[in-house]
Amino acid sequence: MTATAEVSTGSRGAQPPVPDGAITLTLKVRRFNPEVDDEPRWDSFEIPALPTDRVLNLLHYVKWYLDGTLTFRRSCAHGICGSDAMRINGVNRLACKVLVKDLLAGGGKQTTITIEPIKGLPVHKDLLVDMEPFFEAFRAVKPYLITYGNEPTRERVQSVADRERFDDTTKCILCACCTTSCPVYWTEGSYFGPAAIVNAHRFIFDSRDEGAEERLDILNDIDGVWRCRTTFNCTDACPRGIQVTKAIQEVKRALLFKRV
């Protein structure tokens, strides 16, 4: 690539022409570089954006044309992989699913969009967090099929009604939006968190699975479902529209009445 460092420090050189209908907005990003900073700091960027742009486009614009050191995760950029969960204007969202037009300030005022890393997980750099505690809780609920006895010679048949019971919780993409929006998780990292409970729910209520009791025992413990305060932050945050709080309540009910 040709050197254009004079006008830009982004990874793709000079800024592209501003498209018609673009609005200049301010992107305020919470940044942290462990090699330089003692404390996280705020960086602001002026960015020309179309109302149809996604917040992810704004981050790309910064990384490609303004400051190549901005660090964040993204993979598919279409709301499927769950890599780009972040706090946008104070709520957890996938940057690839939020449109600029939904964040514009009314009355012709200057729009400022704040971006922070998801809360409750250690920050490696900028918007990049250590997901390991999140996945540790996920693994701890045994999110895989458990069966006993001989394997059937044919497929494990399931009725439509039985499939329906856990349909909602199969949608999880493990983006951590829900878990890192939970105030209990912020202050107590040993809480399993909504995502782990959602993925336990997916197997507990599966008629083909026989490990419900093990998982219910795990979630009955001090860091399990009884920690949930039903603040509904998780349900609000879920980019897949999963009724997370409802799933947690269903696990509570299964424990309470000893019936799945």
């Binding site: 390991e132 505690p133 540790e136 701890a140 209990v184 202050t187 107590e188 040993s190 025992d217 795990i218 009955n220 413990d221 001090i222 860091d223 399990g224 009884w226 920690r227 509570k252 424990l255 309470l256």
Partner: protein, 136 residues
Amino acid sequence: MSELTLDKPRSPRRPAARRSNGELYSWLFMRISGVALLVLVLGHLFIMNILDGGVHRINFGFVAGRWASPFWQFWDLAMLWLAQIHGGNGLRTVINDYARKDATRFWLKVLLYVSMVLIIALGTYVIFTFDPNITD
């Protein structure tokens, strides 16, 4: 075959589930005692503050008259125990959620449990040993 070595091994496993229903029962207790306290406390406030001239008629004789009846003794006893345990359990939850260090958590809980036991014991003692003829 050489063993795969990871730069950052997986985080330590959680302790195994203890197969105890303690958290379940405490959750259930909060719901049931909450409903009971609604009746007990609102009834108490109504009798003490609104009925028959409210607070102005409360004096030693009024209390003595009420506690002569086992019904009011039981009412006040139930209110004392449920409010203490309900409130104490709620505070225990708050401490579990917000105390960052194990030592802080431990000492806050000690303080909480000691105060709960003291207040329950003192209140129960007064209700059962109240002597209306104390001034004789």
